[in-house]
Symmetry: C3
Subunit: 119 residues, 3 copies
Amino acid sequence: MAANEDITRVDQNHRRSRAVVHNGLVYTAGQVPDDMSLDITGQARQVLDKIDALLSEAGTDKSRTLTAQVWLSTRDDLAVFNALWDSWVVPGHMPTRICGRVDMNNPDCRVEIQVVAAV
Amino acid sequence: MAANEDITRVDQNHRRSRAVVHNGLVYTAGQVPDDMSLDITGQARQVLDKIDALLSEAGTDKSRTLTAQVWLSTRDDLAVFNALWDSWVVPGHMPTRICGRVDMNNPDCRVEIQVVAAV
Amino acid sequence: MAANEDITRVDQNHRRSRAVVHNGLVYTAGQVPDDMSLDITGQARQVLDKIDALLSEAGTDKSRTLTAQVWLSTRDDLAVFNALWDSWVVPGHMPTRICGRVDMNNPDCRVEIQVVAAV
């Protein structure tokens, strides 16, 4: 196996790291809510909070997000999600985004987000 | 917030940038057609034109695309889309691609594409 | 067209490269099984083998994977897929992952995986 001194892995278990830092970028795993009984507002807040925490752990913050992939389980949540998203992103520091309706692993999961940010 | 002098954001609104340039790469947002009443041919042409324009604005072009994510709303469009795609990409300069059927935010949207290119 | 001496493209046809190497990273295309008549175990093994081969061709290996996108055609395959995945990844070198249910181009395809790895 190749050496990995240039790769930092955050909060890994037997399946995945929650974030990986390499060459000035942090890649997060797809973040899902801790409490999937919540509505889209509650779920999205948990996901965005988790991303903030991961970015902080990697030594950066949401103002340096380059791109985000957003999966929603239903289009019915899009308007509410977008309002929360719009208040989360930092004016003047918008990432690119791709957002679509995807069935997530847990049927109760309404939102999953993955980001790449500059450290 | 961390400084962002090393990140260039193209055509941003309150939600997203259409492209972000950092450390020699440009990340586009998922590009969708302007006119969603068009068939797959018309929609795909609009999307590919928009990507060309974004790459140009970032100082690069499609010959330097590294990877593309393609979402189609129906498999019925795949053959037609692929023919358009094949005539868009540059022989000898093929990006990697992941392409699947995803429901996009607008139910009339038939295709969404996001690319990462070297600047 | 811009020069491309800094981009290496692996196994390209008229549509896509199977992998692209640039600035210390390799981006694979979404890899699918060669034999789509197989069950999830057989399909996942083929896909993971193909990723191993691409990473090797790019001069790296799975211990240096930064992030992976996994598409499954049905949640029913998730547990079996995860067991195979867990035995494929390298302890202490976990990539980030985003995994969801997506309809792939071939209706018989049960799994598609794309990775980004450090070279």
